[in-house]
């Protein structure tokens, strides 16, 4: 077993093509032991393909996957010692809960007394001890996914793969389950690759996130880095809500069509400014006029913990959202108001999506 330095999971320039469609375009990624790494992206971005290559269900056309210092190319999925949790649970319907959990242990020829002990331990950990003899059709979706977790973890895998494990559960259960998964993963120290298209889930659960789009990894970083310092327009747009302002850079200044200006030392070009919805607020008298813009309130949505204003910039009709504390001042639909932002919170991207500022 690899306990030395170097990554536990090492993905090196993996390529996967389907005919003329490139599902993975030279993806490289590492995960260190005990880390929870999330692959985040829209459907079709290649995250599930990458997960299935790691699992061994697909063979890469080029590139290498290694785990604990062992090359995995050509190793069949059943000889990789990975635990996998599936989106639709994939609980064997004709086996009891306990037999489901025991399935992988039996494949490894472990003594039955130890199997009984480890199954009981795993079921207790996912709080399903009293369901051991039930059949899956008597379980709820959340319980089924707990069986899936116990089944994957009980074999003490080198790597745990989770393929959108919560997307078939309802909203409240999703939040509960993701905390449970995270706590269990930390406690057991299992290196985990987690696939999801839900950005909030990714932020909440991950040590690091790899944001994918069209077969490429655009940015890898901690949740905070991904949210606060997106290096690519796609990342900024995909995670959280962003207002986009068109503008041009010239003479060390970015001028937005909607009005505001800010310093920018890049070469003259067209550029886009991204501003989180929560970073726009009603202007105060002390705000410098170049960070302010006038907008008409088109609609007000009350969301409980905040109020979302749907705005139109007076100058060029840009669509803007502003999330304000719900206890703040009232805005009437149809009125016009002045809004301001802190230039420190604004991110500027070139037209090809790369970060300028």
């Amino acid at each position: 077993m690899n306990r030395g330095p170097g990554p536990h999971l090492w993905i090196d320039r993996v390529v996967k093509r389907y005919g003329s469609f490139t599902a993975l375009d030279g993806v490289s990624l590492t995960a260190s032991r005990g880390e929870l790494l999330t692959l985040l992206g829209p459907s079709g971005c290649g995250k599930t393909t990458l997960l299935r290559i790691i699992a061994g269900f697909l063979q890469p056309d080029a590139g290498q996957v290694s785990l604990a210092g062992r090359g995995l190319n050509g190793v069949p999925p059943n000889a990789r010692n990975l635990g996998m949790v599936f989106q639709n649970y994939a609980i064997f319907p004709h086996l009891s809960v306990a037999e489901n959990v025991a399935y992988g242990l039996r494949a490894r020829g472990i003594a039955s007394s130890e199997i009984v002990r480890r199954v009981a331990e795993a079921l207790a950990r996912v709080r399903l001890a009293q369901f051991a003899d039930r059949f899956p059709d008597a379980l709820s979706g959340g319980q089924k996914q707990r069986v899936g977790l116990a089944r994957a973890m009980v074999i003490e895998p080198e790597l745990l793969l989770l393929d959108e494990p919560l997307s078939n559960l309802d909203a409240k259960l999703r939040i509960e389950m993701r905390q449970e998964i995270r706590l269990m993963q930390r406690e057991l120290g299992i290196t985990t690759v987690y696939v999801t298209h839900d950005q909030e889930e990714a932020l909440a659960i991950s040590d690091r996130i790899a944001v994918m789009d069209r077969g490429r990894i655009l940015q890898v970083g901690t949740p905070r880095e991904i949210y606060e310092q997106p290096t690519h327009a796609f990342v900024a747009d995909f995670i959280g809500g962003c207002n986009w302002f068109e503008g041009t850079v010239s003479n060390g200044e970015l001028r937005l069509a909607a009005g505001p200006r800010l310093a920018c030392s890049a070469a003259p070009q067209t550029a886009r400014l991204a501003l989180r919805w929560e970073d726009l607020r009603p202007a105060r008298e002390t705000d410098p006029p170049q960070s302010c813009l006038a907008a008409r309130v088109a609609m007000v949505s009350y969301l409980g913990h905040r109020v979302r204003l749907h705005l139109r910039a007076c100058q060029d009709d840009t669509e803007i959202h502003a999330d304000l504390p719900s206890h703040g001042e009232l805005h009437m639909e149809g009125t016009t108001a002045l809004f301001a932002f802190d230039p420190q919170r604004a991110r500027v991207f070139a037209s090809d999506g790369t970060r300028l500022l």
Partner: protein, 564 residues
Amino acid sequence: MRRAPALPPGGVLARLDPWPLLGAAALLVVLVFVAWPLSELALESFIGQESQHFGFENYATFFASSYFRRALFNSLTIGALGTIIALCIGVPLAFAYARYDFPGRDTIEVAILLSMLSPPFIGAYAWIMMFGRSGWVSEFARDLGIELPPIYGAFGISIACAFGLYPLAFLVVRSGLARVNRSLEEAAYSLGRGRLGVMFTITLPLVLPALLTAALLVFLGVVSDFGTPGILGEGERFPVLATLAYSLYLSEIGAEPGMAATTCMILLAITFVLVLGVRFLSGRRSVASDTASDLTLRPLSGGKRWAMTSGVALLVLTANVPTIVVVVSSFLEVRGAVFQPVFTLANYRNAMVAMGNALWNSLMLATIALALIIAVGGSAGYYISRRSGLLPRALDLLIMVPFVVPGTVIGIGYATVFNEPPLLLTGTYAIIAIVYVIRRLPYMTRSCAAIVFQIDRALEDASLSLGRPPLAGFRRIVLPLMRPGMVAGAAIAWVEVFSELSASIVLYTGPTRTLPIAAYQQAATGDFGMAAAYSTLLVGIAAIGLFIFLFAARGRRDRVVGWI
């Protein structure tokens, strides 16, 4: 304190994927036993019966002869008439079962399936017993001064076939109706259409593919049937293609194998044109709804419920009359061709004496064939449904071909190809077992492919990722889940195999005679008492087998679990 993880075994067995190999073996088998005999027949049909030259001579002879043309016309007539009658019974039943709840549903459904048990030719001479020249209904009517129209010929054959085949129409249309999303009809009602308007603008167009399929299957069943026209057509008087091909091939006065092959090809051409036609017509109307259909049944108010029950029961009872007549009359005394109202076991005593080893042959051959059908059909169904590529597609196509090829045609094809080395099989038990397997493999393969299609692929992925090699995963996960589909397929295959007549009658020799052949021969030569006894045995044993399978299909999950 981490335990050193136990690694799953990673040897050669863990990597072996046996499916392509098994698939290739299966393809070889169907090439030899489906493609070869049929292409040999096709070739032979172009070799002139007189001149021995390659060309259309036989086809010219066929269409020049008024007798041959009549056989073609007769086949098409009974096909069309039989289809109409079977649909008239099956479609209303399907609507009743797909939409309404009424008392006695389940009981009557068993009766519907029971009518599938008896092959149409058994019904055929029940009709003769009742409506034949000296049948008791005809005699009774004659006593009243009414001369009933003759049962022999097109009308009788169509009715006898339809009464045996309507369950097919019922099953197909019913499942078609179940797939039609009920909310489409509700949408039409809400848009202001009346009940009839909805029926004609929404429901019927949506079940049209199912109706077409049902019509096709019944038509093929009627046209391929050998026994019914053999008995009700009185031999040469009402020739159809299936009986014509048989007598041309086996005629005691100068067999004409070339003309037999030509007749087979014409029968086959009708079949394929219809299959392709139906595929073309229904392929352009995809009615698959992506949302789950609402399967709740409409409750009926008091009076209507019982009206529905009596209507359905009457329809099903009528269709079962021939079988009931056969079973009852097998216990009646026969004088000449007339049954007396005296109960006796004499028919069975006579039948046992004349039986030889027909019963034993049937039991043995059908059991062996069924075992092969389960093994080959189960694995082929899995392979076809799970793998993509040329090999599985070719296998799928070739396995399904015998589903639409009339038994007589397959029988003559086998007799032509396997009567000389390298594969000298004529006269053996093996050739009958093989023809049973090949003819009924499509049921099993389809039934298994359908159920595998419903088994989530992720289950196999899960099994793999937990460390089981593909074959072990198949045995422990897929096979137990396939069981219901396999049992259903096997149940149908058993009934069909046990009563198979049209191919085996071409291929049997004295020692390899089977029960259906014995029953047919007695019915054709007019010993009604013994024919009734044989037929009752046939239907009875088929039914016992069916119920054993259905019993085995009932949930035994506890045992499956203990088996791991």
